[in-house]
Each structure stands twice: as structure tokens, then as C-alpha cells.
Symmetry: C2
Subunit: 306 residues, 2 copies
């Protein structure tokens, strides 16, 4: 594949940035990949495993001369990073990010972006429960969606170029506005994560059932919740603080429905429960048909653990 | 492995029964395996794929001469099946079940068990989101737990024999009383399933986010919920109707914790959220160390889908 950007700077070197680096190299999408991480430890590991061609101590140094700057830091850190790098951005460069919320990132970053630099917020819907510079792999984005939220006035060519980078890494790209993005993600990601965290917290906290029982008997359903509740705490704290309104809206609907089911259980209304549980099966089928999950029983765990 | 039971009768031929049949055959644990299913369709498929040595039209016929009878029907159907088979049970036979709740099964079945027949309720903590006679496979129980809840007065030899059947199929066996079983399962299975069903229901019901968006963008977390919300509706209706008290207790704790997190989000209390999300990571680690899940990123889905 032809090189899409001459030099790419990755700011923050966790799961997404390290996967981007592997993917860009695998498919020859970047001339040079440079990076920066806040902690010395992460920079050391990145250098050790050769994650980037060069690793810089500051974000300001890393972005100099870069054609594409990708902000891969928690949403809460976006504003200060944007402020730091702003004076060092190359005219005509594109700045994007991979944060899980978009309006808050726009509010934090856009005011710092200088004239002549194109800001195109983005969000690859891909990840695992692992984090850090060693957790990335080249196929993370394959057949996953990447949502772009271009600011007004950004040239179409700049958007098309970023799109071809993501497509080159195997992703499908779609554009939408920030408010709709944040609502869709509140449904498909943020609220499910909060609920999973809560369920795991309840199990951990229960006096009459021991932790070792919860762990031993987790295969009955609970363990699926623990995977997403093992995700990075800082990232998720920032998601909930910055996508507050949409998350609270969906949480409100969730508790309303949960109370209706709870009432059906209390009253012994089997028909209500059966109808509800039948309806939810169809969505699973749709997800498998759309290629967004495996139909192998139990996610194919049997194979993975052999 | 030596034959544990001369003849085993499987009543109900879904995921668990068909997996038991494959496992007993694979490791030579039963002399003969006979079966019965309520619907003609299931009996036809079972005969077609050779799931049992013989398939009977009634449960009463199937249990005649059986050394072990395994009730693999939804919990709500246990009482009528027990009543039907009672006069036909062989003296000295063992009756067990695989239901997800235990006190309700004991209440439904025990009164029908004749003198001289041993009733040992059981529950293998294994399953997938698939159901029906074609969904079973021999390794479903490998390294999973099977909980036995022996009635008082059942001879130790009868319990030991059933235990060796489950161990022969690869399971680890533990004994506990019915009330504790039902509470542990409310935490590790029943409440997580109800919550997953609810979250999927909310997503399906939302006007401002389309179904196709929910499906396309599900890889961000939501799809994990859809797997367990695709489980058999009849089985789950019966679970909630028959483990009402424990489920409602755990649901109460769940909503209490959820409201505390919701309040932290509303107030912007990042420290509370971060501390909570950090604590839940440890449980995931424990589950992987206990061999109850894979550490492969994303449950090893990448491999499963290739």
C-alpha cells in the first residue's frame, strides 16, 4: 500500500497507539513513526521493543515535522497535551485523536489548534481489556469501525487522507456528528462498561458469598462482565466524566427497564420475562451477521485456551 | 475409563444433555445412553444424528431400567416430569438434574421420588449461548465446576458414583446446600444474565439510536452482553421465577451500587470512579489464574473468527 503520511507522531503509547504502529508498519502506511509517552517507564519499553522509530521525552518535540499527530491519551489529558503541542505543529498537518467521547475532546483540543492545521477527531471502536505499550497488535482494527467527526471547514482532502489511513489498517470508516457519536457510544459502550463494573463490584463486596466462590463459579455468566471491567481505570473514569449527559440518560432508561423486569420477577409474570428474553436474541444474530462477533460457542474460548 | 452407569436416561435433549452424551461416549462412562425429548422435532434430530442409542416418545419409557436418570428440562417442567417417571424408576437407581436453581428443583422433584431411589440434585456450571440437540460437544464440562446438592439420607456410595461420572467428563465436583447454591448462582449467573438482557433490551428500544447502529458499533463493549442475552428464554424465565428471593436480593445490591456510581458521575467525582474501576481489575486476574477464562485479548475472538 502507498505511504499515506510521511511522518506520524503518536502521543501516548498504550493499546491503540501501539496497535496503530504495528498496523502502519505491517501495511507500509507511514514513512516514519515517532512517539511520546508521559511516563519514563512506557518510553523505555517502547524503545526496547522498537515500537516507534524514535521516542521523544516531550510531546512538543514528537510533533515537530509530523504530517499526522494522533492523540492517544485519556480524554482528561487532551487539553493540556493540545496546549503543549500547538506551537510546534507543522502547517498543513492533521491532528486527530482516538478518544471514546468526542464533544469533550473537541471542547478541549479545538481552541488550541492553530490556523492551517486540520483537526479531525476520530474514534476506532476497537480494543481489548489489556493496556500499555506491549498490548498492541497489527490486526486490532481489522473489520472494526472507525468514526470520524470532522470539524467544519476542514478540507475534504484532509478527511479523505485520514480515512485512507484507517482503511489501510483494515477499519471501516464512517462520519457522524459529535453529539450523535456520544449518544451511540453511551449505548454500545459506556453504559455496558459501567454496568459491568458495578456487577463485578457487587460480587466482590458480598459477605455471604466469598471471593473464591465468585471466581470458581464465574463461568456461569459472570466472567463475561469481568473482562470489560478489567479495562483501564483512568480511561474509563474520563469517559464517564466527559460523556456525563448521554451516559446518565441511558442509565436512566436502563434502570427503568430493570425495575420493570424486577417487578415481573416479584409478581411471577413469566410471560413478560419470556417475551423480553426472546426479543433480545435477534440482536445477537444481527451482530454475528454483521461480522462484529464470532458465532463460535462461548466466543470460541475453547480454542483460545487450548 | 471404566463404565460408571450401565444405562443412563437423558430426559430433555438440549445443550447439556447432548454434551453429556458426547462426553460419556468419548470416555466410555455409560454402557447405554437412552433419551427422551418433549417435541417430535427434537426426537427426530436426536435420532438422525445418533445422539442416543435409543430415543423414546415418553419419559416414562426412557427411564425404565436406567441406573441413572438425568433431568435436563427447564426448571418449570421438573415437577411434571418427576411425577410421570416416578412409577417407572428402577429400585436403586439415581435421579439427578442439571437445573440452574436447586431449592425449587428439590421442592418439585423430591416428593415424587420413591423409596429406594436416590435423588442427588446437580448443576454443571457450563454452557454456551447455543441450545438444542445439535449444540452439544464432549468438552463442554472440561475444567468446569459441577455442584452437587445431595438430599439427606442418600448413601455416600451413590454420591461418589455420580461424582465419578462428572469427573470422568472432565468436571471438578463440589457439594453445597441448596440455599447457598442459589445465592452463589444469583451472584455469578442469574443477576448478570438479567442485567445483560436488560441492557440489550434498552439498546433495542431506543428511538434516537438505530438498531443497525447498535449492531455495527457493538464491538465497543455491548456485544459481550448480547452473547449471554442470546441464551434460551424458557430456561431463563424459569430461573428467575424459581430463584426469586436470591435474585431480588442481589438485584437490590446492584441497583444500590449503580446509583452510587451514577451519583459520582453526576457530581464529577473522578476519584470515586477511579478507585472503583481499579478494584474490579483484581477479580478478573483471579478468574484467569483459577483457569476459568482465557487471558487471550478479547476472549481470543481473533483466533475464533479466523
Amino acid at each position: 500500500m502507498p505511504v499515506v503520511y510521511g511522518r506520524v507522531a503518536l502521543i501516548g503509547l498504550g493499546l491503540i497507539a501501539s496497535s496503530m504502529s504495528h498496523a502502519m508498519r505491517a501495511w507500509g502506511l507511514a514513512g516514519e513513526i515517532v512517539g511520546h509517552a508521559r511516563t519514563e517507564e512506557t518510553r523505555r519499553i517502547a524503545a526496547e521493543i522498537g515500537l516507534c522509530d524514535r521516542v521523544f521525552e516531550t510531546a512538543a518535540e514528537a510533533v515537530q515535522g509530523a504530517d499526522l499527530v494522533v492523540l492517544c491519551v485519556p480524554v482528561g489529558a487532551m487539553a493540556s497535551v493540545a496546549e503543549e503541542i500547538a506551537p510546534h505543529l507543522k502547517p498543513g498537518a492533521t491532528v486527530t485523536d482516538v478518544g471514546s467521547v468526542k464533544q469533550a475532546v473537541i471542547d478541549a483540543v479545538a481552541p488550541h489548534i492553530p490556523e492551517g492545521v486540520h483537526f479531525i477527531p476520530g474514534h476506532p471502536l476497537a480494543g481489548t481489556e489489556h493496556s500499555g505499550p506491549r498490548s498492541g497488535f497489527a490486526t486490532l482494527f481489522r473489520n472494526r469501525w472507525c468514526l470520524l467527526v470532522p470539524s467544519e471547514g476542514v478540507p475534504a482532502e484532509a478527511v479523505a487522507r485520514l480515512r485512507s489511513l484507517w482503511e489501510g489498517m483494515g477499519a471501516n470508516v464512517e462520519e457522524m456528528d459529535a453529539a450523535h457519536h456520544d449518544l451511540v457510544l453511551a449505548v454500545t459502550s459506556h453504559t455496558p462498561h459501567l454496568i459491568a463494573y458495578t456487577m463485578v463490584g457487587v460480587a466482590d463486596d458480598l459477605r455471604r458469598v466469598t471471593d473464591s466462590e465468585v471466581i470458581k463459579y464465574s463461568a456461569a455468566g459472570f466472567r463475561d462482565f469481568t473482562r470489560i471491567a478489567a479495562s483501564d481505570p483512568t480511561m474509563w473514569r474520563d469517559v464517564f466524566l466527559t460523556n456525563k449527559d448521554a451516559t446518565l440518560e441511558i442509565l436512566g432508561r436502563f434502570t427503568e427497564e430493570l425495575f420493570a423486569l424486577q417487578r415481573a420477577i416479584r409478581r411471577g409474570d413469566g410471560d413478560h420475562l419470556h417475551a423480553y428474553f426472546t426479543r433480545t436474541r435477534a440482536i445477537r444474530r444481527g451482530i454475528i451477521e454483521a461480522g462484529q462477533d464470532t458465532d463460535a460457542p462461548d466466543f470460541g474460548r475453547m480454542k483460545a485456551s487450548r
